[in-house]
């Protein structure tokens, strides 16, 4: 494990995001139980774990959708308080949710700008400005997209996903949370999203990528944080582990060096 001691104060070594000892409980269920993760500029951190491990809950603490019970979040080294999605957006944190968060009965431009509408000098909605901005950003993401005036409920899963991504990209996110971004997509759209992740990463955006597709994660991530029953089993550099070792962490909840031969044998059936 490369644990570069953060004594140096050059900005490169201050993580973009630090989440320390985050806890979230639902009634008696400790969904997130003391998690610590970080993310650097231009980095993709894969967040993996079984169903119900707490990945979405941990990410919702960062996106403001469900503030943590305790723990500290630092952005660029500064402690911040994120109590609702607007706080997160002010900090340039954008989220693409596992369950798509779109308002079905309004059109794509309104969804992209929802909560941050463009208004004219008189204070009324500037529909044409919002539409042309959406056309521009969509041209980059999904040139085939033309449904700018229909309600998003009549769009396909891929098109809806494009709207959700457009919303995140348009507002110049510094930190992007993608919770299962390709779960509902066909092969072509999945390839598009992968290409987009690489592009955003090259632009210096930090990305938390939650995915069940271990190959996707190995393909895209620089580091991988593994969650198990609400806790972080460990964070590994992708180049220093094998897929099998990460699968072992996901299933057994132990770091590779703690796994016994017997457990390993069982894992391979």
């Amino acid at each position: 494990m490369s644990s570069g001691e953060a004594n140096m104060t050059t900005t490169e070594l201050v993580p973009l995001v630090e989440m320390r000892d985050i806890r979230v409980a639902f009634g008696g269920v400790h969904a997130v139980d003391g998690c610590t993760v970080d993310l650097y500029r231009g980095e993709v951190v894969g967040l993996v774990g079984g169903n119900g491990a707490g990945k979405s809950t941990l990410m919702r603490a960062l996106s403001g959708a469900h503030p943590p019970d305790s723990g500290e979040i630092r952005i660029d080294g500064q402690p911040v308080s994120i109590t609702n999605p607007r706080d997160a957006k002010t900090l340039a944190i954008e989220t693409i949710y596992q369950t798509l968060a779109l308002a079905d009965n309004v059109d794509a431009p309104s969804n992209v700008f929802l909560g941050r509408e463009v208004t004219t000098r008189l204070g009324s909605l500037d529909d044409s400005a919002m539409e042309s901005a959406t056309r521009t950003v969509m041209g980059r993401l999904n040139p085939n997209f033309t449904a700018f005036k229909t309600q998003v409920k009549s769009l396909s899963g891929g098109q809806r996903q494009a709207v959700a991504i457009a919303r995140a990209v348009y507002f110049n996110a510094k930190i992007l949370i993608m919770d299962e971004p390709t779960a509902a997509l066909g092969p072509a759209e999945t390839a598009q999203v992968r290409a987009l992740i690489r592009q955003l990463k090259s632009e210096g955006i930090g990305i938390f990528l939650v995915s069940h597709d271990i190959h996707d994660v190995f393909d895209l991530a620089d580091r991988i944080s593994v969650m198990y029953h609400g806790q972080i089993v460990g964070t590994v550099n992708k180049d220093e582990v094998t897929i099998d070792q990460v699968l072992g962490m996901i299933i057994l909840g132990k770091r590779p060096e703690e796994v016994t031969q017997k457990e390993l044998a069982k894992l391979h059936g």
Partner: protein
């Protein structure tokens, strides 16, 4: 107007397409309007003497319910429901009537403004309670309907009070042509101006967004609580308009005015506003009110028991909801 060159260009590019889209979105309301026109012809057919008097009577009698229906539409579009609209109407109605009795015209102006503000406050209280207590809208507003109704009885125990003459003149009788009722013009002006402003505002968009998917709206950064309080306040404002229209058209205040709440729900549903929220407008419910009122008139012309009209209204409503649900199911799973 203040349209930018860009708007003109995009709008002018395919005017027929824009028109077609508008017609598709308002298909239900346009259908209702056609039905209302047919119903007018039918009325003339069964009662050849139906004419100016009938139209004037229709306009003045539907004004309070039409305003109440718009009030209900706003909050239903936002995903809520307000069962206290009738009580807010009664309260604003009696406050206006008791304050205006025997006072000057100038004072009546102050009363009208004050009563409209009162409506905003009543609605905002409803909304704040819904947001803060997290008790379902239907429960909060049902409870508040008793509170506002009680307040109305404190103001006036029995029908009484009065109305300034100018307020009555504002809604009674024709304007210019004998066929054009003042009440209709007042309705179009109030609803047209406010609704247009709402649709063009950020608040209007959040109204439809929270009605469509409250969680999605919240995650997008919409202040859901504030938008809800706004919606209820606006509903209160329209309930106050409705209450004032009662004062104006009847000339008195009545603490026990009719069953406006449930009728407003009926009009909203018939008018194409989905009870699930996020869909519909102000136009459909108003036409629905006209249809329901004219149906009632026709039943008296046909010498049917007027109580039957109430039952018929219920049957129509169930039919509409069923057809609407069928359409939604068919659209949802193509």
């Amino acid at each position: 107007m203040t349209a930018t060159a860009g708007t003109v260009e995009t709008a002018g590019a395919q005017p027929t397409e824009a028109l077609a889209r508008w017609a598709r979105r308002n298909a239900w309301s346009l259908g209702l309007l056609a039905f209302f026109a047919a119903l007018l012809v039918f009325t003339k057919f069964i009662q050849p003497s139906y004419g100016v008097t009938g139209v004037q009577g229709l306009a003045i009698s539907v004004l309070p319910l039409a305003l109440a229906a718009v009030a209900q539409a706003i909050v239903v579009i936002s995903g809520g429901i307000d069962l206290s609209i009738g009580s807010m109407m009664a309260l604003t109605n009696v406050v206006a009537a008791s304050l205006m009795l025997g006072r000057s015209d100038e004072f009546a102006v102050v009363v009208v403004v004050g009563v409209l503000l009162l409506g905003l406050v009543l609605g905002a209280v409803n909304g704040a309670l819904v947001v803060l207590t997290r008790v379902p809208d239907i429960v909060v507003t049902l409870a508040m309907s008793f509170v506002w109704a009680g307040c109305a009885l404190l103001v006036l125990k029995t029908p009484g009070g009065g109305s300034a003459q100018w307020l009555k003149d504002l809604v009674l009788g024709p304007l210019g042509n004998e066929w054009i009722p003042k009440a209709a013009i007042v309705l179009v002006l109030i609803v047209g101006l406010i609704w247009w402003a709402v649709r063009r505002s950020r608040f209007g968009l959040s109204l439809y967004a929270i009605g469509s998917n409250q969680l999605a709206a919240f995650r997008s950064g919409v202040s859901v609580g504030r938008a809800k309080v706004f919606a209820y306040a606006l509903t209160g404002l329209f309930a106050a308009f409705a209450g004032l229209s009662l004062t104006a058209s009847t000339g008195i205040g009545n603490p026990l005015s009719g069953s406006y709440t449930l009728q407003s729900v009926a009009a909203v549903v018939l008018g194409g506003v989905s009870l699930a929220g996020g869909r519909g407008g102000a136009f459909g419910p108003i036409v629905a009110v006209l249809i329901l009122a004219l149906l009632r008139t026709d039943m008296t012309f046909l010498n049917l028991n007027p109580n039957l009209a109430t039952s018929a209204q219920g049957i129509i409503l169930i039919g509409v909801v069923m057809v609407g649900t069928l359409f939604q199911i068919r659209r949802g799973r193509p």
